[in-house]
Point group: D2
Chain length 147, copies 4
Amino acid sequence: MKPAAAEAPFHFHTELRVRLPETDAMGIVFHGNFLTYLEVGRVDYLRNLGLSEGIRPIKGFENVVVSAHVDFKSPARFDDVLTVAARLAPIEKGKRSFTFEFRITHKKTNRLVALGHTTHCAIDSAYHPISVPEDFRITVGAFEGWA
Amino acid sequence: MKPAAAEAPFHFHTELRVRLPETDAMGIVFHGNFLTYLEVGRVDYLRNLGLSEGIRPIKGFENVVVSAHVDFKSPARFDDVLTVAARLAPIEKGKRSFTFEFRITHKKTNRLVALGHTTHCAIDSAYHPISVPEDFRITVGAFEGWA
Amino acid sequence: MKPAAAEAPFHFHTELRVRLPETDAMGIVFHGNFLTYLEVGRVDYLRNLGLSEGIRPIKGFENVVVSAHVDFKSPARFDDVLTVAARLAPIEKGKRSFTFEFRITHKKTNRLVALGHTTHCAIDSAYHPISVPEDFRITVGAFEGWA
Amino acid sequence: MKPAAAEAPFHFHTELRVRLPETDAMGIVFHGNFLTYLEVGRVDYLRNLGLSEGIRPIKGFENVVVSAHVDFKSPARFDDVLTVAARLAPIEKGKRSFTFEFRITHKKTNRLVALGHTTHCAIDSAYHPISVPEDFRITVGAFEGWA
């Protein structure tokens, strides 16, 4: 979480409740399932901005996840309600990749549970990298306050 | 879904939105994930009646799932909102097992997606079967209208 | 598991090792994950008979799962090696559906863990039911000894 | 994957076959499931060195995952066989954390699919950080060639 935006506030929050099959025999959420929680945060974020369309996560262009990182700060347990804060880091004009940043907290106590970020590359239908479309960049930037 | 209660109405409904990792390469929700949806329905049903407690699905006694059955009526896809209707079939006094019945519909169209039921056995701390505790049977029966 | 074939032996076995994320906070495999184990058994069964093709579970025709049933006999835990026995119940000529039957045992102790069956419907590219193709029926029947 | 060990070879490999429920509606493995694949690699690595014990991933001490990172290089699809190479980066005496590094390749083509690393903290039964036990450090170091 070193990008310049690290100190910026989050303007979007969604929440979810931990399901039993997301926990493991250690009694806590299996760490890999946090990438599902980030996915939920990303999809809800895009829907809120009207940027998703039917079964396509982002309308207008495709993307692939190129990297994912999570720092686990404290455990989450069955039936915990988690708040997933999500934001898009500033995207420079013409760039092909964009990064979502996340902070997950335990809703009832505000305890920090995890920090994460995922980087995505915009692609065309032949899977070739393309510049992030301007309308996407502008819509998100207006919401986040960086464009 | 042959029990006498099959024609009875459902009094409890909860909903969830299909997540991307719950779908598979066939483009639809992997059928096994419906058992997760039934789990969500069961946990929400019990919480609504004040019958869960912290991380224990049912307060007062433990249970194990002894069987699960699902009939798949139509596919569910990424981002679909599904309504999970849940009810407990009548439990005779002294019985050791109880059965949850479920009906999953596509919220936007009311299309039937799946019917299912799971049977559970009440157990003590040594994993031995016990009669379903009376307070549980009475609370649920009052809600369902069969006790 | 009431079909006529219930007493018939299983001629195909595959095995898998329980992964940590397949367990839940109750310390055992989440019951819904058994449908993943049945899926593994089915795919391995079909591959063994040369009936799968690339990313298509069955070459030559598509299918949808119409029902799934599992009876849970004893728990499975992290790192347990499970043996999944699979067979196809006899398919009458012209029938549109076929049923896989499964028995899962704990490899080290031969303890019965679960019994299950899944019923599938053969479909064409327009999702309409079709008769199970004869070459599939004959190949499987020859292996199972019922055709 | 910037640690000094980045150029070091991997001495341990395990493999797995992609299961249908691990893929998503995009037709490829959901990126979050790679953390399950790393888990499988880690558990197999420790079992190979006799460092696991029953249902405990590491005998002798507990650990928590403090961070996980994956770079996705190319997609994996249903039924692909993946090779998971795993190694432990050098652990200095007295350190409380240790890092597993992973490289996942497509077995049939040797195509690079993903690189990842997970960092773990050794803890005592009260969840307090402890130094990585010497016998663990020495056994792993002898295998890896750094101790």
